[in-house]
C-alpha cells in the first residue's frame, strides 16, 4: 500500500547512546547503549513497557534532550554536539511532534494552532491543507475545548505535518483515546506518511498497533531487545483492540 518509495537511507540514527538521570545519590539508567536508525519514509513503532526508555529515546531523537554519552546523527549532523539554540533550529526545521495529551494551545483555534507552526516554518503547507489531510476541514475554526479528544489529536498531527517535517515523532498518540478514535488518528498518520513520505516513529503500549508499521523496535530496560521487519503492514482500519 505504500506509494512513496522507502529507502535504506537513514534520516536519524543513534550510536550507543546512554542516558542517565541523577537525583541525589540515585542514578537511573534510562538508556543503556542504544544504536538505532530511522530510514526515509518508513513507519517505525517502538514497543515496550512503561520505563523501558521509549520516551527518552524519542525525546533525544527529536532534539528535546541530550544523551549522556554516544552520538545522535541527523543525516550527517551530530545532534549530540549541538547547543540549545541549534537544537531548537533542528526541531523547527525538521521535526514534528505528536504527544499523548495533544499539547494544543487552548486559546488558538484548530487552524490557528496549525498556523502557529506554519508561520515559523520554511516551506509549509497552508494550515487548511494540513487540516484537510486529517479530515478536519469542517472543524478548523473551533477551539480545542470545543473539539473531541480524537479531533484534538488530529489537530496536533496537522500541526506536526504542516511544516513538511523530515521526521514525525509520536509519543503514545492514541494513549488517551478509545479504539475507534485511535484508529482515525492512526489513519491520519499513515496517510501523511504515504503521501508525504515523512519518516514516522510512533511509541505505543499497544502491541496491535505494531501491525501498521514497516518495522517494530522492542525496548526493555533501556535497551533494544528486538527489531522486527514487517513486509506487509496493514491499514489502521484493520487493526482492532
Amino acid at each position: 500500500m505504500l506509494t512513496t518509495a522507502r529507502t535504506r537511507t537513514p534520516v536519524l540514527s543513534t550510536e550507543a547512546i546512554t542516558k542517565v538521570y541523577r537525583s541525589g545519590p540515585v542514578a537511573v539508567h534510562a538508556l543503556a547503549g542504544v544504536s538505532v536508525s530511522l530510514f526515509e519514509a518508513e513507519v517505525v513503532v517502538l514497543l515496550g513497557a512503561s520505563g523501558s526508555g521509549k520516551s527518552t529515546l524519542l525525546n533525544i531523537l527529536g532534539g528535546l534532550d541530550q544523551p549522556t554519552s554516544g552520538r545522535v546523527l541527523f543525516r550527517d549532523q551530530d545532534l549530540s554536539a549541538m547547543e540549545d539554540a541549534a537544537l531548537t533550529e533542528f526541531r523547527r526545521k525538521h521535526v514534528g511532534f505528536v504527544f499523548q495529551f495533544y499539547n494544543l494551545v487552548p486559546s488558538l483555534t484548530a487552524r490557528e494552532n496549525v498556523a502557529l507552526v506554519t508561520e515559523i516554518a520554511g516551506d509549509p503547507m497552508p494550515p487548511e491543507e494540513a487540516l484537510d489531510r486529517v479530515g478536519l476541514t469542517a472543524r478548523m475554526d473551533h477551539f480545542p475545548s470545543e473539539l473531541s479528544g480524537g479531533e484534538q489529536q488530529r489537530v496536533a498531527i496537522a500541526r506536526a505535518i504542516a511544516k513538511r517535517p523530515d521526521i514525525l515523532l509520536c509519543d503514545e498518540p492514541t494513549g488517551a483515546l478509545d479504539s475507534k478514535t485511535g484508529i482515525t488518528v492512526l489513519e491520519a498518520l499513515i496517510s501523511v506518511n504515504r503521501d508525504l513520505g515523512t519518516t514516522t516513529a510512533l511509541i505505543t503500549h499497544n502491541v496491535e498497533i505494531r501491525r501498521i508499521a514497516h518495522r517494530v523496535i522492542y525496548m526493555a530496560d533501556g535497551r533494544i531487545t528486538k527489531v522486527e521487519e514487517n513486509s506487509a503492514p496493514i491499514a489502521p482500519s484493520e487493526v482492532s483492540w
Binding site: 525525546n59 527529536g62 528535546l64 534532550d65 540549545d84 539554540a85 531548537t88 533550529e89 533542528f90 526541531r91 523547527r92 526545521k93 521535526v95 511532534f97 504527544f99 495529551f101 495533544y102 499539547n103 494544543l104 494551545v105 487552548p106 486559546s107 488558538l108 483555534t109 490557528e112 494552532n113 498556523a115 502557529l116 507552526v117 508561520e119 515559523i120 475554526d141 477551539f143 480545542p144 475545548s145 500541526r159
Partner: protein
C-alpha cells in the same frame, strides 16, 4: 505548630518574591500616610504649642501714626482680649564684609519687660536694655547667617540716619516662623532679618513718640473676628490704618498653612492608590494560589476542616503580607518623616521641630493596609471555600475561549498566532488585565505628579524672572516721592533704566467677597515689568480700569467688564468703583494693577512712586550697592538674580528629593503589578510555552508571548495614566495653591514622555525578571504534565 500554619509559612516562602512585591506597594501607601500625616501633625502641634506659649496674636493691623491714647478704645472693642501696640519699620543694614545691602524689619519691644503678645523666645544673650538705645536683639537665623553674636556691633540706616547698634541676643518669634523680605520669594536669612529694639529708641528713630504704627491683638473666646476687624478699621481709619487682618492674612501663618494643606493633599491623593492596587494584587496572587490549591481545599473540607479554618488559613497568608508591608511602610515613613521635618527646619524657624507622628498615623495606616489586603483576599478565598469538596477535588474545567471582536480585529490585522495568544489571554481574563492596566496607569499618574513639579516650577520661574520681572534690581523707597525719582535713580552708579511704581494696600470688594491686596500703579510704557494673559501672552497695561490676577478674579467671581470696588487703605481711604479691564497670570502674590496716572487721577493727587525697578550694568553693581547703603531714602534693595538663585537652590534641594521619592513609589507600583501578573501568567502557561519550545520556537519567540502581553497592557495603560496623572496634577496644584502662591497647571510633553518611558522601562525589567524563569523550565518535564 499546627500543620496548616506550617503550610502558611511554606506557601509564603514559595511565593516570597510576589509577596514582597505586593508588600512593597502596600508599604508605599503606608509610608506616604505616615510621612504626610505624621509630618502634618508634628508641624501643627509644634506650631500650636509655639503659638500658645508665645501668645501669637489673632488680629494684626498697621497704620501711619496712631496715638497711644487710642489703645484704650481698641481694648474696649467687644471680643478683644489683649492689645499690643508697636512701632514697626524697615531699615537698611550695612554688614561688615558684605557688599550687597541687607534689610531688616525693626519691631519695637515695650519700654520695659517683654510684649504681651507675640512673645519672642530668647535663644541666646538677653533682651536689649531699656536704657541703652543702641541695643537690639536679632532674629536667630539672620544673626547666625551673618555671624552676629551677642556683643557684636553692626550698622543700620534707621529712618535715614546711620546708626551703630549692639547685638544683645538672638530671638525667635511665633510671628516670623517663616520670614520673607519685601519683594522676596523665598526666605533669605543672610539679606533679610528682624531687629527688636526697645520702644523709646524705635520711637525716636521714627518720630513716633507717643504713637504706634502697628497693632497686634488677641481675641477672647467666642469673639467675632470680622466684627473686631471692622471696629479696628474704623478706629484706625483717621490714622492711616492699612486694614486689619486675621491670621489668615499673616504672612508666616499663611505659609505654614500652605505647607500643611500640601501635606494634607499628599495624604489624601496618594495612599488610596497604593492601597487599592495592593488589594487587587493580593486578590490576583491569592486567587491564583487558591486556584492551584483547589484540590487541597476540597481535601481539607472532605477530611472535616470547617470553612472558617480554611478561610483563616488563607487570611493568615494575607496578613503576613499586610504585616510586612505595614512594617516596611512604617520604617520608611518614620525615616522620611525625620528627613522631611529636618528640611522644614531650614525654612520654618521653630524653636524646636521634632518628628512626632504619634500613634494615629501608625494605627490608621496599619489598619488601612490590613483592611486593603484582607478585602483583596476575601473574594478569592470565599469563592474557593464555597465549592463542594467533590467539585473542588476534581480538576477545574479548562478555560473556554470564544470568538469575539478581538478575533476579527486580529485577523484583519494579520496578527501572528503568538500575538493572537496574547489578545485572547487579555480578552479571556479582562479582570486580571484590568488590574495590571489600572496599576500601571496609577504608576504613570504618580510619575507625572512627580515630574510635573519641574514643569510648574519652570513655568513659574520663567514667568517671574524672564517674562514679567525683567528688572535687575528693585529699590524700596522710604517714602513716596514725585515721579522725578526715576530721573534721580539714573544718577545712581550703573543704572541704565529706571521705572517707578507706586504700591499701596487696598481692599478689593465684589458683592460679599473682599480681600486685602496690593495695588501697583505703574507707567503704561513700563517695560521692565510686564503683564501676561492667562495663556502667557504679553498684554499691555489697560488704559483704564484695573487688571486683576486670575486667581483673585476667580476668588471674587469677576470677569472683565464687571465693576469692582477698591478701597484705599491709606488716606484718602475713599472707595472707588472701577471696571475690571483685564485679567492676568500671576504665580506669586496677588497684586492688582492700574495705570499710575489713572490711579492718581482718582486720588486727585500728583503721581508719586515708592518703588523703583532698575536695569543695571552688572559691572557697576558693587558701586551701586555701596551707594544704596548710604542713601537714606532707600529702605530696601532686592537683586533679582539673588532671588532667583536662592529660589532655584531651595527648589533643587527639596524638589529633587521629593521627585526621587515619588518616582520610586511610582516605579514600585509597576514592579508589583507587572511582576505578579507575569509570574501568574508563567505559572498558568508553563505547559503551553513549553509546547512552543518543542515546536521549535526560539527562547526569544516564547519570551515574546510573556513579555509582549505585559508590555501591551503597560502601553495601553500609559494614556490612561496620562489622564489620571493630569487629574492628579490638577488636584495637586489646587491643593498646593494658596493666596500667596497660585500654581499654574502645566504638563510638558517631556513629562508625559518621561512618565511613560519610566513605566515602560520598569515594566520591561519586571517582566524580564520573570522571563529568566521561563528559560529554566524543563520542556520535557513540563510536557509530561497533563494540561
Amino acid at each position: 505548630m499546627r500543620a496548616l500554619d506550617r503550610k502558611v509559612l511554606r506557601d509564603l516562602r514559595g511565593i516570597w518574591a510576589q509577596c514582597l512585591a505586593i508588600a512593597l506597594v502596600l508599604a508605599c501607601g503606608v509610608m506616604v500616610m505616615v510621612l504626610s500625616t505624621g509630618t502634618q501633625r508634628s508641624l501643627t502641634e509644634t506650631r500650636d504649642t509655639f503659638y500658645e506659649r508665645h501668645r501669637f496674636a489673632d488680629v494684626f493691623a498697621g497704620a501711619t501714626r496712631a496715638p497711644r491714647g487710642l489703645l484704650s478704645e481698641i481694648a474696649a472693642i467687644d471680643g478683644v482680649a489683649q492689645v499690643e501696640a508697636r512701632i514697626v519699620f524697615t531699615a537698611m543694614v550695612d554688614l561688615e564684609g558684605m557688599v550687597e545691602p541687607a534689610s531688616a524689619r525693626v519691631i519695637s519691644l515695650p519700654a520695659l519687660g517683654g510684649p504681651a503678645l507675640n512673645l519672642p523666645l530668647l535663644r541666646a544673650g538677653r533682651l536689649p536694655d531699656p536704657l541703652q538705645p543702641d541695643e537690639v536683639a536679632l532674629s536667630e537665623p539672620f544673626a547666625q547667617a551673618n555671624g552676629l553674636r551677642p556683643g557684636d556691633r553692626f550698622r543700620a540706616v534707621l529712618n535715614g540716619r546711620l546708626r551703630d547698634l549692639v547685638v544683645t541676643g538672638h530671638l525667635l518669634s511665633p510671628e516670623y516662623i517663616y520670614t520673607l523680605g519685601p519683594a522676596a520669594m523665598m526666605p533669605d536669612d543672610r539679606h533679610y532679618g528682624l531687629i527688636w529694639m526697645r520702644e523709646p529708641a524705635a520711637a525716636a528713630a521714627t518720630d513716633l513718640d507717643g504713637a504706634f504704627n502697628d497693632l497686634a491683638l488677641s481675641l477672647s473666646r467666642g469673639a467675632h473676628q470680622a466684627a473686631v476687624i471692622a471696629a479696628i478699621d474704623r478706629l484706625l481709619a483717621p490714622y492711616g490704618g492699612t486694614g486689619a487682618y486675621g491670621r489668615d492674612r499673616q504672612m508666616s501663618h499663611v505659609f505654614i498653612e500652605g505647607e500643611l494643606s500640601q501635606l494634607g493633599a499628599m495624604a489624601r491623593v496618594l495612599p488610596p492608590i497604593f492601597l487599592i492596587v495592593s488589594a487587587f494584587l493580593v486578590n490576583m496572587v491569592l486567587g491564583r494560589l487558591i486556584a492551584l490549591e483547589r484540590r487541597q481545599i476540597g481535601l481539607l473540607k472532605a477530611i472535616g476542616y470547617p470553612i472558617r479554618s480554611i478561610v483563616i488559613h488563607y487570611l493568615k497568608m494575607t496578613i503576613g503580607i499586610g504585616f510586612a508591608g505595614t512594617l516596611i511602610g512604617w520604617g520608611m515613613g518614620w525615616w522620611l518623616g525625620h528627613q522631611m521635618t529636618a528640611l522644614y527646619t531650614e525654612y520654618f524657624r521653630f524653636p524646636w521641630l521634632d518628628y512626632t507622628p504619634g500613634a494615629a498615623p501608625m494605627v490608621i495606616s496599619g489598619a488601612a493596609a490590613m483592611g486593603a489586603v484582607v478585602l483583596g483576599a476575601l473574594r478569592a478565598v470565599l469563592a474557593a471555600v464555597r465549592l463542594a469538596p467533590a467539585v473542588a477535588m476534581a480538576p477545574p474545567a479548562p478555560p473556554v475561549y470564544r470568538r469575539g471582536w478581538a478575533d476579527a480585529l486580529g485577523h484583519a490585522l494579520g496578527l501572528r498566532q503568538t500575538t493572537m495568544m496574547i489578545v485572547r489571554s487579555l480578552t479571556r481574563w479582562p479582570g486580571r488585565a484590568a488590574v495590571t492596566l489600572f496599576g500601571v496607569a496609577g504608576s504613570v499618574a504618580v510619575l507625572i505628579v512627580s515630574f510635573v513639579t519641574f514643569d510648574i516650577i519652570d513655568l513659574v520661574m520663567e514667568d517671574i524672572f524672564d517674562r514679567t520681572n525683567r528688572q535687575h534690581a528693585t529699590v524700596i523707597l522710604h517714602q513716596p516721592v514725585k515721579e522725578r525719582a526715576e530721573l534721580d535713580a539714573l544718577s545712581l552708579p550703573g543704572v541704565l533704566h529706571a521705572e517707578g511704581v507706586h504700591v499701596a494696600p487696598v481692599r478689593i470688594r465684589h458683592g460679599q467677597a473682599s480681600k486685602l491686596v496690593s495695588l501697583t500703579a505703574q507707567d503704561p510704557g513700563a517695560d521692565l515689568t510686564r503683564l501676561l494673559d492667562p495663556d502667557g501672552t504679553r498684554i499691555p497695561l489697560p488704559d483704564s480700569g484695573v487688571a486683576l490676577p486670575e486667581s483673585l478674579a476667580d476668588h471674587l467671581g469677576l470677569v472683565p467688564g464687571e465693576t469692582v470696588q477698591i478701597e484705599l487703605l491709606a488716606p484718602p481711604r475713599q472707595p472707588w468703583d472701577v471696571t475690571v479691564t483685564s485679567v492676568f497670570r500671576q504665580s506669586m502674590g496677588q497684586d492688582i494693577l492700574m495705570r499710575r496716572d489713572v490711579f492718581f487721577a482718582l486720588m486727585n493727587e500728583t503721581p508719586q512712586v515708592n518703588m523703583l525697578h532698575l536695569a543695571i550694568d552688572p559691572a557697576a553693581l558693587p558701586a551701586l550697592q555701596a551707594q544704596v547703603k548710604q542713601t537714606p531714602a532707600i529702605t530696601g534693595f532686592t537683586l533679582w538674580e539673588d532671588v532667583r538663585s536662592s529660589m532655584e537652590e531651595t527648589m533643587n534641594e527639596s524638589l529633587i528629593t521629593m521627585t526621587i521619592i515619588f518616582s520610586v513609589l511610582g516605579m514600585l507600583i509597576t514592579i508589583g503589578v507587572v511582576y505578579n501578573a507575569a509570574r501568574i501568567q508563567l505559572a498558568e502557561r508553563a505547559h503551553e510555552l513549553a509546547s512552543l519550545r518543542v515546536l521549535g520556537f526560539r527562547r526569544a519567540e516564547v519570551g515574546y508571548v510573556l513579555i509582549a502581553e505585559q508590555m501591551l497592557l503597560t502601553l495601553i495603560a500609559v494614556p490612561v495614566g496620562w489622564l489620571l496623572g493630569y487629574w492628579f496634577a490638577v488636584l495637586m496644584t489646587q491643593g498646593f495653591s494658596t493666596d500667596i502662591i497660585s500654581l499654574p497647571m502645566v504638563i510638558s510633553q517631556a513629562t508625559y514622555a518621561q512618565a511613560a518611558l519610566t513605566a515602560l522601562a520598569t515594566a520591561f525589567v519586571s517582566v524580564l525578571m520573570v522571563r529568566r524563569r521561563l528559560d529554566r523550565i524543563d520542556i520535557v518535564t513540563a510536557l509530561k504534565q497533563k494540561e
